[in-house]
């Protein structure tokens, strides 16, 4: 079974620029999550989708972050404009059972904002 795919793997941008990350979950997984992991910390949930609907985006900084999951499969996370404190690894995960299911994580995108 193919795992969760993410791209790009690395991105370096200047502050105030915009950036987008892409995620392709495991086939058949209805639930998709985006996490932000700052160095030395645990992953922090940004947004959770169930199919193409948002279940939880309470920790998403909506003034600069946006996410969508068209057709309930692939998802994109965008930051515009980026700030220095957005430097982190952005992890995408998927699961088949929602809150009860184990999450399968992708390799992540390491973002550096200079």
């Amino acid at each position: 079974e193919a795992g969760v795919a993410q791209s790009p793997r690395y991105k370096i941008i200047e502050k105030r620029q915009s950036v987008a990350f892409w995620c392709n979950p495991i086939s058949g997984h209805a639930t998709l999550y985006w996490y932000q992991q700052i160095l030395g910390q645990g992953p922090k949930l940004l947004i959770q989708f169930q199919n193409n609907g948002v279940v939880d985006d309470s920790q998403l900084p909506k003034d600069r972050f946006s996410a969508e999951r068209l057709k309930g499969v692939d998802s994109t996370l965008k930051i515009q404009p980026a700030k220095l404190e957005d430097s982190a690894v952005y992890l995408c995960a998927s699961s088949s059972l929602g809150v009860a299911g184990e999450q399968y994580f992708g390799p992540g995108t390491r973002l550096t904002v200079t």
Binding site: K44, Q59, E102, Q103, F105, G106
Partner: protein, 110 residues
């Protein structure tokens, strides 16, 4: 934001020694998951505990859920260099979901 505390934050052990990390919550949990993240890698699911007092074993790893469902532990017997990484708990409760613990970073010295 809410935090789930794990102790210790760091642990260095000699290969062959045992290791334990604890996850503590102030609220009663519905369930708890444990993940391992190797240096430079992504979190990988280890186990999920649901029942009060539940104990599950995976080879050298023993996972326990407290009787009051407010804490959990992961114990590794006779550590190996392959056990190196950060261990996170990820509890779920009515108050919060998908909150990862602060993590315990394990270093195994050969």
């Amino acid at each position: 934001g809410q935090q789930v505390m794990q102790i210790p934050q760091y642990q260095h052990v000699q290969e062959g020694e045992d290791f334990t990390t604890y996850c503590n919550s102030s609220t009663t949990l519905s369930n708890i998951q444990w993940y391992k993240q190797r240096p430079g890698g992504h979190p990988v699911f280890l186990i999920q505990l649901v029942k009060s007092g539940e104990v599950k074993k995976q080879k050298r790893l023993t996972f326990q859920f407290g009787e009051a469902k407010k804490n959990s532990s992961l114990h590794i017997t006779a550590t190996q260099t392959t056990d190196v990484g950060t261990y996170f708990c990820a509890p779920t409760s009515g108050t919060y979901k998908y909150i990862f613990g602060t993590g315990t970073r394990l270093k195994v010295l050969a």
